[in-house]
């Protein structure tokens, strides 16, 4: 597990945990690592929500698919990010979302019950980890607020601008690469792909934005 330590140290779940204790904890928690190729399913919709996933390399997407196959991208998770932790923490029966590999990736699985309910060794990390989970869930709730703020806009243009502005604010730059291709961006914004492409073209002509593939510039 040593080779994952650099990533794990950045994971909010392990805030305030000493390096020396990390290895012991991972054993205690029964952590397991799996590799997934692009497009493979990390968690499938409807499966039991017992495990937290921690992205170690690559990236994954949390998605919902409705009746008619419309995909809604809820979030993208990168190395050190957690996925499915809300469902595991709430001890939900079945996952209402799916998690898929966005590129080849490695994910660590931890049985959430082992965190929430004190283990037989009675090791003292549980309180710290519960605190960390609480903090993390608070931040995640706020991120959902932001997504709702973006998708509640009524037009494609407003949604795109809200998304790009948020991204610019987050990175502190006017020029940035977004983690989505066109179809994925459309699914995230909940609009039609071709309509989005058309709108981007218009906004380029109006010199509101510039864009080349997934590199965007706000002007």
């Amino acid at each position: 597990m040593k080779k994952y330590f650099d990533v794990l140290r950045k994971c909010k779940l392990f805030d305030g945990i000493e390096d020396g204790d990390l290895n012991k904890m991972l054993t205690c928690l029964g952590a397991k690592v799996e590799h997934f190729d692009k497009k493979y399913t990390v968690f499938s919709e409807g499966s039991p929500a017992k495990h937290i996933g921690i992205v170690l390399s690559g990236s994954v997407q949390v998605i919902q698919i409705d009746y008619y196959g419309n995909r809604n991208i809820l979030m993208e998770a990168e190395p050190s990010d957690m996925v499915a932790e809300a469902f595991a923490c709430a001890e939900t029966e079945a996952l209402p979302v799916a998690v898929v590999a966005n590129e080849p990736c490695e994910v660590m699985f931890i049985n959430c019950g082992h965190i929430l309910h004190t283990c037989s060794n009675n090791c003292g990390f549980h309180q710290q980890m519960i605190f960390n989970l609480m903090k993390n869930l608070a931040v995640k709730t706020i991120e959902f607020h932001k997504k709702l703020e973006i998708t509640s806009k009524r037009s494609t243009r407003e949604k795109l601008l809200a998304y790009l502005s948020m991204y610019a604010k987050k990175t502190g730059k006017k020029r940035f690469r977004i983690p989505f291709d066109r179809q994925e961006l459309a699914d995230y914004l909940e609009v039609d792909r071709s309509g989005l492409s058309a709108e981007i073209s218009k906004m380029k002509k109006e010199e509101i934005i510039d864009c080349n593939k997934n590199l965007f510039v706000l002007m």
Copy 2:
């Protein structure tokens, strides 16, 4: 504070806390109660996010208002529900949402810092409350997933059906009263009010639903 105990016992923040301890805790936490008339502001957007609100009576709405005055209703909170706790727990600087009284109501305010950081009396409730907050935030994250699932639908009809189905599932009934008037429902679903009214009429004619004011029947 005694008169609020029935409500407070149902509040998830106090799960696992003995009745006898509750009063002592509220003092330790510096809890305060305020009354608000309908439409008055409980938390204003941009204000510091230090306090958790617990609805004691009546109801409040968590809303966002954009540039052009479009209101987005994020959630409705009823007695024993918490509001703004995600922002307080994340120790956000300023609230990105507003909370307004939906009807005359009473709200209890608790400084979240007093929960997260052990008090001078070093009383033992903090761990339990942090655990409770974590659980509550997990559930709230899931509720946002549900709202996203509803509003990500592309048409007014699909949004309405998704909302009503969810409500029917939650209450276990086909016949129920929703907590919104037409304009509020439109704002929650993120659609135009008149378009929503028209769609409801159509669906009545098609005998998919029946509806009288805010009483809906799924058929």
